[in-house]
Amino acid sequence: MSLLSIRAAGRITPPRPRGRTRGRARGEALWAFVFIAPTGLGLAVFTIWPAIQTFSFSFTKWGAFGGHTWIGMDNYATVLTDPQFGRALLNTVTFTGLVLLGIPISIVVATLLNRRGLRGVTVYRTLFYLPVVSLPAAVALVWGMLYNGDFGLINWVLGQAGIEGRSWLSDPDTVIVAIGVVAIWGSVGYNLILFLAAMQSISPEYYEAAALDGAGRVRQFFSITLPLVTPTTFFVTVITVISSLQLFDLVYLMVARTNPALDSARSVVYLFYQRGFMEGNGGYASALAFVLLAIIATFTVVQFRLQRRWVHYA
C-alpha cells in the first residue's frame, strides 16, 4: 500500500506552551487516547502482532496438522541455500534495475513538459498518469494479450518492421524484461509528476543567467535542471527500489503456474506466497519475509549513505 514519505519524515512537533489547568490537561489526554485508539488498536492487531508472530513463526517448522515445532535458525539456512530463492532474488533485482530505467525516461518527459509556452500540459499529465491508477490485474491481462506470441499486437508490429517476435512471456530469456516494460509503463506518470513539481520550483533566474553565458538548452539541462532535481531523483529511486523489490502482482497475473518461464520470472514475494499459501510451509515463508525485509532495509540504508555523493540539497 503506502510508501513512506521520506521528505516529510523527521519533522518534530514544536514545543507547545504549557501552563494549563490540570483538569483540562487530563481531559485532553483522555481525548487523545480516544482519538488514537481505533487506528492504534487496528495497527496493533494487524501490523505489530503479525510482525511479532511472523518473527516467531520463522523459527518453527509447520506440521501438516497445524502443529509448530521450534527449529531455531533452520528456516533461514534453508532460505539462504535454496536455489529457488537465489533465482527469485536475481529475478527481482533484475526487475528492479529495469524499473529504475523508467526514471531517466520520466526526467526527459518532465523536462519536455516544463518547456515555457507549452500548452496542453494537463492533458499530457493525465494521459501519462492513466496507467498508474489502472487496476494492475486489468493491466496485466491487457499486456498479456499484447505480448501473446501468436496473435499479440506487439509481434504483429514487429513483423511489419521485419523483426520476428516470440512468445515474450513464456520465453525464459524475455519474460522478466517483458514484465519490467509494463512496470516502467505504469510508473512514468507518477515519477513525472514529482519531477515536474521539482522543475517548476527551480528559479527561472538560473536559466536566464545560463542563457546569457551562452549555454544552450542541452547544457542547461545537464548543468541546472539535473543537479537541482537530485533530491527528487533520490526520493523516486528509493521508493522505486522499495516497491520493485516487492514485485508480485505482475508475475502472478502474467505468468501462469504452468508457464515454462516461471523460474525466470518468479519474484521473492511470489516465492513467499507460493511457500506460505500454496505449499503450507509457513516457517519458510516467515523466514523469507524477514530476509526480504533485511534486503529492502539494506538497499535503502545504502542509498541514504550514498546520497551525499550525488544529491544536492538547496
Binding site: 503506502s2 516529510a8 482519538f35 499530457y124
Partner: protein, 275 residues
C-alpha cells in the same frame, strides 16, 4: 528556460504525443478487443475495429463470473478502507499534532516505525488473525487490515500542524471541547488534503491483489482484482470477455482520477505519495 523556437515546440509536442500514445494504446486495444467477436480478437493480421460492436461481451462477463457480487465487494472494501484511512487516521493525526498526553513521542515513534515496514510481508499472520476472528471469506475480511494505516496518521498530522494556533485557541475560548474542535475546526480546514488522501486510499484499496487473493476464496466473495485473476485462469484466451471484465473493473478508479485529478496530482506532488 530560454524562449523556445516554434520548431522546438512542435518537436516537443511530437515527442509528447508519441509518448502519450504509448500510454493510451493498451487501453484503446483493451476496449476495442472487448467489442470484438472471439475470432476477430484472434485474427492475424490483427483487426483494429470489430465488424459490429459486440456489447454483449460486457453482459457475458456477468454470466460467466459473479461479477456483480465482486463489484459490490470491491466497492464496500474500498469505502471502508477509505473511511478508515481518512477519518480514523485523521483522528489519530489530530491527537499527535494538537493534543498533549503522556508518552506522546514514544507512541508516535511506534507509528512512525510502521511506516517503514511493507505490511504484505506479515500477511501470513494477518490471515491467522482474520481466521481466529472467524472472518475468512467475508467482505469485512477484505477491508479490515487496510482500514488502519500509519501513513494516513503521519500525513494528517502534517496537515493539522499547519493549522494556526490562534484558531484552536479561539475555539477553546468559545468553550469548544476536543471533539468539537476536531470536527468543526480541524476537519473543515484540512478538507483538501483529506480529499487527496481519500482518493489515494480508494485507489490503493481498489487495486490491492495479494490480500484479497489470500483471505477470500469463494468466487462471490472475491474482489475484482482477485476475480479477474480467477477469470483469466478460466477463460485463458477468451480475450473479448477478459477485456470486457478488465475494462469494467478498472473504469471506476479511472473516472475518479479524471474527476479529481487536479487535487490528487497536487497532493502527490506535495507529499510524494504513491498513487
Amino acid at each position: 528556460m530560454a524562449r523556445p523556437g516554434r520548431t522546438g515546440l512542435v518537436a516537443t509536442h511530437a515527442v509528447l504525443i508519441a509518448g502519450a500514445a504509448l500510454m493510451v494504446l493498451p487501453f484503446a486495444w483493451e476496449v476495442l478487443t472487448a467489442l470484438k467477436t472471439l475470432s476477430e480478437s484472434l485474427a492475424a493480421p490483427p483487426r483494429v475495429f470489430p465488424a459490429a460492436a459486440q456489447w454483449g461481451n460486457f453482459a457475458a462477463v456477468f454470466d460467466a463470473v459473479p461479477f456483480g457480487a465482486q463489484f459490490r465487494n470491491t466497492v464496500i472494501m474500498t469505502l471502508l478502507r477509505t473511511a478508515g484511512q481518512v477519518f480514523l487516521s485523521a483522528a489519530a493525526g489530530f491527537a499527535f499534532a494538537r493534543l498533549e498526553f503522556p508518552f506522546k513521542r514514544a507512541i508516535f515513534a511506534v507509528f512512525l516505525s510502521m511506516l517503514m515496514i511493507p505490511p504484505q510481508l506479515f500477511i501470513l499472520s494477518q490471515y491467522q488473525v482474520i481466521q481466529s476472528l472467524g472472518l475468512l471469506d467475508t467482505v469485512i475480511a477484505l477491508a479490515l487490515p487496510g482500514m488502519f494505516g500509519a501513513f494516513g496518521v503521519f500525513l494528517t498530522r502534517q496537515y493539522f500542524l499547519q493549522v494556526p494556533d490562534e484558531l484552536m485557541d479561539a475555539a477553546r475560548l468559545d468553550g469548544a471541547n476536543v471533539p468539537q474542535i476536531f470536527f468543526r475546526v480541524m476537519l473543515p480546514l484540512t478538507r483538501n488534503g483529506l480529499v487527496a488522501l481519500g482518493i489515494l486510499a480508494a485507489i490503493w484499496a481498489w487495486n490491492d491483489l495479494l490480500w484479497p487473493l489470500v483471505v477470500n476464496s469463494t468466487p462471490d466473495k472475491l474482489s475484482l482484482s482477485a476475480g479477474l485473476a480467477f477469470m483469466q485462469g478460466q477463460f485463458t484466451t477468451n480475450y473479448p470477455m477478459l477485456m470486457a471484465g478488465a475494462t469494467l473493473a478498472s473504469l471506476p478508479m479511472i473516472v475518479l482520477f479524471v474527476v479529481f485529478q487536479k487535487r490528487m496530482i497536487e497532493g502527490i506532488a506535495a507529499g510524494g505519495i504513491k498513487g
